[in-house]
Every structure is written in C-alpha cells, then in structure tokens.
C-alpha cells in the first residue's frame, strides 16, 4: 500500500536548482532512504513533502490527502525530525516532550517516548547538557510524540560517533517492528544498506536510481575484485600476475609489491585456478579477499563520480 507519493518535484532558490525532478512512492511499513552527497537536494525534498517549502512544480499525495486541502490532517499523520533537530535547550527532554504533546489531541506519554529513545535516565537534564547522540534521539522522540504513521528523519546520524549511530539504527529498526513508515536521509552508504527496504539515490536534484539495496548491487556487473598478498615477496606476485592474466574470466590485473589485485567475472573459478598454481609453486599466500560490491559502487557506476562522505 502506498502511503506517500511524490511526482516531478522541482524547487529552485534563485539561480540554484535544488531539486530538478524527483518522483517516488513510499509503501506502508518500509524504511525508505534517500541518499546522496551534500547539496543533492535531500532536505529540500523532505521540506516540500513536510509542507514547509512549497514546490515550484510537482505533486505530493499522502493517500487521499494533500497539503492544499488537508494541512492539519497531514500534520497529525506525520512526525518530523528536521536536520537542525531544533528543540528548547533550556527545557529538559521530558518538558520538551510534554510541550509538543500538547499540540496534538492524541499524543503518547513522554514516559513511553523516553523509553523508546532510551533517554529515561536523562529526562531531567537540560537539553543543552545532552551529548550529540542523546540530543538526536530526543529529536526523534519529538517526532514520535504524536504517534505518527509516517516518520521523517533528516540525517539523524550525521556527525555522531559509531556507537551513537548504532543506537539510532536500533531505534529505526524498532520503529519498523512497530509497523511505522520511515523516510530517512543519510549520506552514509553503510547505513542505507543496513536499514533500508528501498534506497533512492539522488544527485544534483535528480533521482539516479531507486530499488532495494541488494537489487541495486545486483544490477552492477558481476565482476569482483580479488586481492592476494604473497609471503614470498614480489617474485611470487610477478609469477602469479603472469599466470592469472591468461585466465579466461580475468579482465584486468594490478600489482603493487607483493600484493596482486585481479578483476574477474567468475571470482570463485579464478581463485580455484590461482590456488592450484600457488600450491604447485609452493608459494605462501598471506591474505585473500574478494571485495563485496556496495551501494558506493552503485553510485560510482551510475554517476561516474567518486563517492565522498
């Protein structure tokens, strides 16, 4: 079931075309991730959907509801954690939640939300004393206070340390268990891969591609990068390089000292042949790896650009 559909969104700020053409639809209960480099137009897209910025062009539908006629109903249906994660710094998490609860006629209790975002212990500290991760969790908590069906999280993990990021992942996975629909933006590929049912890659205001992470990776070439380091030094690597070049499935090799990189369409077969060869020559192999393709490669394949986060 589709809970949100956007079609041909466009938005310019003066000369800057922040969003050129973005369309997608989001299904109930999924984690839908919009990923793209800084300035790709993620926040602008979300703000149009959240009713904060009016699009120059395009349509936004929450089922039968749209902003022109049903602003209040939509506001009650959605929960938003904006990128700036704004809240009252001189109030405590509990007070912030209680205040936001008063804006809705069906709100959840601050106590429940504090448990979900794991802030019960810090509920009486002023927000300005919280760490980045705790603050971000409260921002998510504020988005949850109205018990919304659709939750928007704009870069909830940016700038956090790995542990704090993992805590937020746990919250997002918990929301999924509860059957909520989450629309997430990030510029961490790893995060998108781990959490999302579907990923929408955007760059320069356009949708590059959209599918589940595994489907996107499968769309890439079958070729994998194999890496071998030899115990017996450069000589062994040179011999192995010469040997592998003639193998059928190998398209390219690259050697750096005693380390050899081989690109092969059928990596398992190539490895088998290689190990036969090293056993024959009794070369010792120190490390072997096949690099998995990731969303990063998908981005590179689709845009021809390096991925930097």
């Amino acid at each position: 079931m589709t809970v949100l559909e956007v079609r041909n969104l466009q938005k310019s700020f003066g000369q800057i075309k922040a969003v050129r053409d973005i369309s997608f639809s989001v299904n109930a209960g999924e984690v839908f991730t919009i990923i793209g480099p800084n300035g790709a137009g993620k926040t602008t897209t979300l703000e149009m959907i959240e009713g904060l910025v009016s699009p120059d062009n395009g349509e936004i539908h929450f089922g039968d509801l749209d902003w022109n006629k049903h602003a209040v109903s939509i506001k009650k249906k959605i929960g938003v954690q904006p990128q700036s994660s704004a809240m009252f710094d001189l109030l405590t998490p509990e007070e912030n939640l209680n205040l936001f609860a008063s804006f809705y006629d069906h709100a959840r209790s601050a106590k429940e939300i504090l448990e979900i975002v794991n802030l019960t212990e810090h509920r009486k500290n002023h927000v300005k004393k919280l760490s980045g991760g705790q603050r971000q969790r409260l921002a998510i908590g504020l988005a949850l206070i109205s018990d919304p069906e659709i939750i928007f999280l704009d870069e909830p993990t940016t700038g956090l340390d790995p542990q704090a990021r993992r805590n937020i992942w746990d919250i997002i996975l918990h929301l999924k268990e509860l059957g909520k629909t989450t629309i997430l933006t990030t510029h961490y590929m790893e995060e998108a891969e781990k959490l999302s049912d579907r990923v929408c890659i955007v760059d320069q205001g356009n949708v590059i591609t959209l599918d589940s992470p595994s489907a996107l990776i499968e769309k890439l070439t079958d070729e994998r990068e194999i890496r071998l380091s030899f115990l017996d030094g450069e000589g062994a690597a040179v011999d192995a390089d010469i040997f592998s070049k003639v193998l059928e499935s190998v398209s390219k090799t690259e050697r750096e000292g005693a380390t050899l990189k081989i690109w092969a369409a059928k990596p398992e077969e190539t490895l088998l042949d290689l190990f036969k060869f090293t056993k024959e020559k009794s070369f010792g192999v120190e490390q072997v790896s096949i690099r998995e393709m990731s969303l990063e490669d998908v981005f590179i394949a689709f845009t021809g650009k390096e991925w930097r986060d």
């Binding site: 959605i78 959840r108 002023h126």
Partner: protein, 384 residues
C-alpha cells in the same frame, strides 16, 4: 498502525495548549540567566548608583533650608526672625530676609524647601509658608510646617494670654510638571528604561529560535502559533510587572521615593508602553539574521534613547538642538507617562498624557506592521 499503549488521549483545547506554552515560557525565562541580569539586576544596580551619586543630600541630618521674607520689618517680624534663625533645624538661606520674588523663585527651583513670610506689621496676624507643590507631601515640607506650627503656638503663648494672634497660612507654588524630587524622577525613569529594554532586547529569543529552526519545527506541528505568541507576550508583561514592583520597592524603601499612583493611568501607560517596545524588538528581529546583529541594533537604540529621553536627567537640561529628537522618541513619553501616573497621580483624561500615549502607540503599530511585513516577505514556509 498505532502503538499499543496510549496516553489516555488528552483532548487538546486551546486553554491546555496555552497553559503548556506559558509554562514552557516561564521555565525558559526563569532559567535564562541573561534575562535576570539585564532585566532585573542591571537596572537595580544602575538605579542605586545614580541615586547614591546624584541625590546626595539625604535628609538623615534634620536640617532644612528655608528662605525668610520680611516684607516690612516690624517688632513682631523681627522677633520671629531672630527666633527662626535660632532654631537649629532651619538654615536660613543667605542668612537674612530676602524679597518675596526671590524666595518664590527659590521654592520653584527647589533651592529651599520652604519660604516663610513674616507678618507685614505688628498687627497682622498671619505667617505664610510657601512650599513647592511637588514636595507638598514630602518629608521636608511636613517637617517645616510642623516645626513652624509649634513655633507659632509658642509665639501665641508669649503674646501673654491674648487670643491666638498668629496663625499659619499655607500656600503652595507649582512650577509645572518637570521639577520633582530627583529620587522619584530617577525611579520612574529607571522603570521606564528597564521595561523598554526588556522589550527591545527580549525579542532576541525570536532570532535565536529562528536561527535554530525552532519556529520551523513548531510549524511542522499543528501547534497554534497565535497561542504561542500570546503566551510569550503574557510572560513578557509579567516580567515587566516584576520589574516595576521590584524597582518601586527599592526606590521607596531604600531611597525614600514618594509614589502617588493612579492605578488606572498606570495600567494604560504600562500596557501601551510595554507592547510598543516589544513591537520595536519584534521589528528588529524581523531583519536580524543573527543574534549578534540583533543585539547590535538593540544596543544602539537603547543607548540613544537612554540619554535622549529624560531617563536620568530632565530633557530641559539638555542642549536645545537635541530636544526635538527627544520629543519623537517613545521612551520620552513612556517615562513621562509613568511619572504622571506614579508620582503625580494624574488621571487618565489629560491631553498631554494622551498625546504621549498616541506617540507610543504609533511607534508600536508602525514597527509591528513593518516587522510582520518583513517576516511575511521572507517566510520560509508556505502559509497553508
């Protein structure tokens, strides 16, 4: 799908929302140290310093300066003159009787607390006391007339059993609206200044909220922004009331200021003044991108007004070319209005008062409209 446990679903009504927003504002104000420093501590310190420096002749020593007028010297007047000179509490200015005109001038200018006019002939039976109207109820005036009263009783007794010969006539001179005791003057000026500054500086919160994205955040919820604005306003007015009460208490209890309050006038002047200066702050906030920019503008305006609006010294004491500027500044009229309502007990139906209220209202309305216009112009959000 809804989450399992629910919060009994508090039905929101406007009142509940107002209550929660007001409580939040209250906590924010109580926890903001800056607000306390600039809103309470700073004006109190400033007032104390000015009062200690400029109202130096405190009446701890029971001595009051009087002028004596002896229109046509006669035995009776001479007798009284020598008696008065002998009283330790009276210090006769210039040591000898002066002309009546001179004495009246001194009273007007408050160079003396009172002028005593001695009987014109041995047969005349009245002693006249001239007192500045501003001081009529003041401690010095009360003291002079009390002492003189006693003195006259003595004189009557000395007139050997005859029916009371001398009685005290009481006249007062007023010199217009601007000469009043400096303590009262400064106190009302300080109250006006601190409320004005509260308005002009206080709206920095709005810039801060906008910069942090809090305004945007609230607009993502169904929160009623009108109620939010109202709760903010009520909080600010309450804070100003605390300022008035605190400064008045210190002025009256520590520095002996004399307040004769007309409550109705005071409420009107206070509300119009406080709202106008908040509108001014709102206007500053509409074009300031950063809190620093806002504070810069607010500082310049408050600094100018502080010295051009007769807060510390009467406008009449300033160079003449400045006075036209003073006469368009809202703080001039706010301070004046507070003086009228807190010291002169002026009723609301005074033309001068309404002119002042008009000027303040004009400032408030114009700046509020300009501010709203600027906010609309660059509204980040579509008004749906």
């Amino acid at each position: 799908m809804r989450l399992p446990a629910k919060n009994g679903g508090i039905k929101i009504n406007r009142y509940h929302q107002f209550k929660m927003m007001f409580l939040a504002q209250l906590k924010l104000t109580l926890r903001e140290k800056q607000a306390w420093f600039w809103g309470i501590f700073f004006p109190v310190i400033l007032m104390v310093i000015f009062m200690v420096i400029f109202s130096g002749n405190s009446d701890e020593e029971f001595k009051t300066e009087v002028a004596v007028v002896d229109p046509s010297p006669n035995p009776a007047s001479e007798m009284m003159l020598s008696q008065i000179s002998g009283l330790p509490v009276f210090e006769v200015k210039s040591g000898k009787p002066v002309a009546r005109d001179r004495a009246e001038e001194w009273v007007k200018d408050q160079e003396v607390d009172a002028a005593i006019i001695l009987p014109g002939s041995a047969e005349a039976s009245s002693v006249t006391l001239l007192i500045n109207k501003e001081n009529e109820q003041g401690a010095a005036a009360q003291a002079v007339s009390g002492i003189l009263d006693k003195f006259i009783q003595q004189a009557n007794l000395m007139a050997a059993g005859a029916s009371p010969k001398y009685d005290l006539q009481y006249e007062s001179i007023t010199s217009g609206t601007n000469e009043l005791d400096y303590t009262d003057f400064l106190l009302t000026g300080m109250i006006a200044l601190s409320i004005a500054q509260g308005g002009m500086f206080g709206m920095v919160d709005l810039v801060d909220m906008r910069r942090k994205g809090l305004i945007k955040r609230l607009r993502m919820t169904p929160a009623n922004m009108g109620i939010f604005g109202l709760s903010d306003m009520v909080m600010r007015l309450l804070f100003s009331i605390v300022q008035i009460i605190l400064l008045s208490l210190i002025g009256v209890l520590v520095f002996g200021a004399n307040l004769y309050i007309n409550p109705f006038t005071l409420i009107i002047v206070f509300l119009i003044g406080a709202l106008s200066f908040n509108a001014l702050g709102y206007f500053f906030s509409s074009f300031s991108k950063t809190t620093e920019a806002y504070m810069g503008v607010a500082n310049i305006c408050s600094f100018l007004m502080m010295f051009l609006s007769g807060v510390f010294f009467p406008i009449e004491t300033m160079p003449e070319w400045i006075q036209p500027i003073s006469s368009i500044l809202p703080l001039t009229y706010f301070a004046e209005g507070l003086r009228e309502s807190m010291v002169y007990e002026t009723g609301i139906a005074t033309a001068g008062l309404w002119a002042g209220i008009g000027v303040m209202t004009l400032w408030g309305a114009v700046t509020f409209l300009l501010g709203s216009l600027l906010y609309k112009r660059k509204a980040i959000a579509a008004d749906r």
